[in-house]
């Protein structure tokens, strides 16, 4: 059986998914800054207002707290809000609503109210944005029980995961890599495509060592893995796809198989989600390890200005070095 596919950028895949989901479910309301007339500052919501009208595609004031907070009310009304925070760095202005309200709504009302809310936000470095546009905050959200955190690494996954995120009855933070919007292109199924949340993807098989990552860093990890293959190192790459829920089984299986692992994240090292991955490996398959698990991270400084960016964001050389060092460990 061959399903029809088209080559799309991640941005096009997201836009197409929003179109198809809004057409499928009339409860869906898209809200955010510049999501209507402008079609989103990255064009992720392009064409939605023309097709679905001003009632369902709403340009809000510059009010992150009100975007997140009114999403709670929309969900209480039985609608399905898909909110956009224009850049994840500005989620701080909405943090009390996301962490204090959205994530707790189901728990504190014992499911009287169901927060079927998706919050989309672009994040991540490498595109020389102004301050606070590039920060990788996923670990901060991972420490908030009640919130799912999904981070696609390919256009195809962006479609499959966004579809599931919107349909999920629990609140989902859907984080889109700025660098991948146009930088990542792959074959995306034309038909409905839903990938269950919490299923990691072994994007490349390997026997000697596994690189574990998510979002844009998966792309870099794949390149490193392929180049090392020429050097005779068999490198697997695991794309977690979501950090909450975490696919512990897939993680454990591949780490136990390879015995060596490197975790790659763009966020600062201290308290990053890579640390959580390593703790999980420690819990689940410590005795299969042949070497300490390495981390490749940003540095423990605020996300820097443009001229320093390339020093900050992990690149192929840093990942490669970490892989080789881990291979040398006995």
């Amino acid at each position: 059986m061959s399903e029809k596919v088209s080559e799309l950028s991640m941005l096009e895949a997201i836009n197409e998914t929003l179109h198809s989901e809004m057409a499928r479910d009339e409860r869906i309301v898209v809200l955010g800054e510049d999501v209507g007339r402008n079609g989103g500052v990255f064009r992720a919501t392009e064409g939605l207002i023309e097709k679905f009208g001003e009632n369902r595609v709403v340009d809000t004031p510059i009010s992150e707290a009100a975007i997140a907070g009114s999403a709670v009310g929309l969900a209480m009304a039985g609608l399905v809000p898909v909110a956009e925070i224009q850049f994840l760095g500005f989620s701080y202005q909405a943090m009390h609503q996301i962490a204090g309200q959205i994530a707790r709504l189901r728990y504190r009302t014992q499911s009287r109210f169901e927060p079927q809310i998706t919050i989309r936000a672009p994040f991540g470095g490498g595109v020389r944005t102004p301050e606070l546009h590039s920060d990788s905050l996923e670990a901060q959200f991972a420490n908030i029980p009640g919130l799912k955190i999904v981070l696609p690494a390919t256009a195809s996954d962006a479609k499959g995961l966004l579809t599931s995120a919107i349909r999920d009855p629990d609140p989902v933070l859907f984080l889109e890599p700025l660098r991948g919007y146009r930088g990542i292109r792959d074959l995306v199924p034309d038909e409905e495509h839903a990938i269950p949340l919490g299923e990691a993807n072994l994007v490349k098989k390997g026997d000697d060592i596994v690189i574990i990552s998510w979002s844009y860093q998966v792309e870099l990890s794949k390149r490193v893995a392929e180049s090392l293959e020429e050097d005779g190192v068999s490198v697997a790459v695991l794309d977690l796809r979501s950090i909450v829920p975490l696919d512990v089984e897939a993680l454990t299986q591949i780490v136990a198989h390879c015995g060596r692992a490197v975790v790659v994240q763009e966020a600062p090292e201290t308290g990053g989600f890579a640390s959580e991955i390593i703790a999980t490996i420690n819990d689940e398959c410590f005795w299969s390890l042949e070497a300490p698990v390495a981390r490749v991270s940003g540095f423990d400084v605020p996300y820097p200005v443009g001229m320093l960016e390339n020093l900050y964001v992990p690149d192929e050389a840093r990942i490669r070095a970490a892989v080789l060092k881990t291979m040398e460990e006995e």
Partner: protein, 372 residues
């Protein structure tokens, strides 16, 4: 049963409150919600209303007294005694017995602190797993990896070596008679030295001995020196000592004289009392005292009771101690703590015959073998 009204935490994390004034006295009849007293907390002064209706039996504090949250304030005989509520606040915190904690201390360990500087075996979790699967004890293997780390290779070669030993043993063994063969198959012969072919787990005391002896071979630098001496003077010395009027005179043996001489030699040449730390060797540890191990053959194997700080003992005391410990060891009543921490050990192969017998048992220390 009287209702006990205990001081509630009325202000989010209070510890105690002061009784400002009592509004009731014993014998008073009170209604539910009637104010019983006024208390002053860190946050506010408050009236505390009665949770039940009844007759006041007893007040538990004077005005001006501070009372802890959870302590009884007042006892009231309930008018309606079918209430099953006995107290307003349950105090559940369990007091931990101080003695219980102190008992777990093992003060004897202090003297043997120098032992703990011995490095842990370095091996990755995967290597440890492989070793467990192949029943290889990594503590007796010397690592060939970086900083002496044990590698998977080391584990595999340890298995090969073990197999070679088994093979050579079987090829050099004397021909087995039919009777012996059949009894081996049935597993009925279990005397010393007999074992079926195949893998055997070494358990219990023999396992410890095997492990220590194997480690001794790899961790202790070996120098063998064989001298024959005329012991007639020693025997003469023993005979003279036995005649001395001393309660321990009868315990003097050639071994105790050799032990005493060894201690004196070690005090003169402290390096011989030292041991090497690190693998590969990093430093020499010289303890400030001599703990002398005495090898004893017992039914469960070679045991090495240790006499601590033997350098402070005279020859009679030493003989007395050796005698006592050897007895305990032979009867296998000796405790593990009594076999730890030797800085130097003496063994006596003489009873088994032969010119030289050397067995090496790792005690984080040197081993002196003496045969006569």
């Amino acid at each position: 049963m009287a209702f006990e009204f205990r001081l509630p935490d009325i202000g989010e994390g209070l510890e105690d409150a002061e009784i400002v004034s009592w509004y009731v006295s014993p014998g008073d009849v009170v209604e539910r919600d009637q104010a019983l007293l006024e208390v002053l907390t860190d946050k506010a002064s408050s009236e505390l209303p009665s949770p039940v209706a009844g007759t006041v039996l007893e007040l538990s504090g004077q005005e001006g007294e501070r009372i802890k949250v959870g302590d009884v304030l007042i006892q009231i005989e309930e008018a309606n005694s079918n209430s099953d509520q006995k107290t307003s606040t349950e105090k559940t915190s369990k007091k931990i017995d101080k003695a219980e904690i102190e008992e777990t201390d093992t003060p004897s360990e202090d003297k043997n602190n120098f032992i703990s500087v011995a490095p842990k075996v370095k091996a990755s979790p995967a290597t440890r797993k492989l070793a467990r699967e192949l029943a290889v004890d990594i503590s007796i293997i010397s690592g060939t990896g970086p900083s002496g780390r044990i590698t998977n290779e080391d584990i595999h070669s340890a298995v090969e070596t073990a197999n070679e030993v088994t093979d050579s043993t079987s090829t050099t063994a004397e021909p087995i008679t039919d009777v012996e063969k059949s009894s081996l198959v049935q597993g009925e012969r279990s005397g010393l030295g007999y074992m079926k072919s195949g893998e055997h787990k070494i358990k219990g005391v023999r396992g410890v001995i095997a492990k220590n002896m194997s480690a001794s071979w790899s961790e202790i630098p070996h120098i063998h020196s064989l001298d024959e001496v005329d012991a007639s003077l020693l025997i003469d010395f023993r005979n003279r000592l036995k005649k001395v009027t001393h309660q321990s005179a009868s315990k003097i043996t050639p071994l105790s004289i050799v032990a005493a001489a060894t201690v004196r030699a070690l005090k003169k040449y402290p390096m011989m009392n030292g041991h090497i730390v690190g693998n590969p060797a990093e430093k020499v540890m010289i303890p400030p005292f001599v703990n002398l191990g005495i090898a004893v053959a017992s039914d469960s194997g070679l045991l090495v009771p240790v006499i601590n700080e033997v350098d402070n003992l005279d020859i009679f005391e030493l003989a007395e101690k050796i005698s006592g410990l050897v007895e305990l060891a032979r009867e296998q009543k000796i405790k593990a703590q009594q076999m730890q921490g030797a800085t130097f050990t003496v063994t006596n192969y003489g009873s088994l015959g032969g010119a030289l017998g050397a067995s090496y048992n790792l005690q984080r220390s040197g081993w002196h073998s003496w045969s006569w």
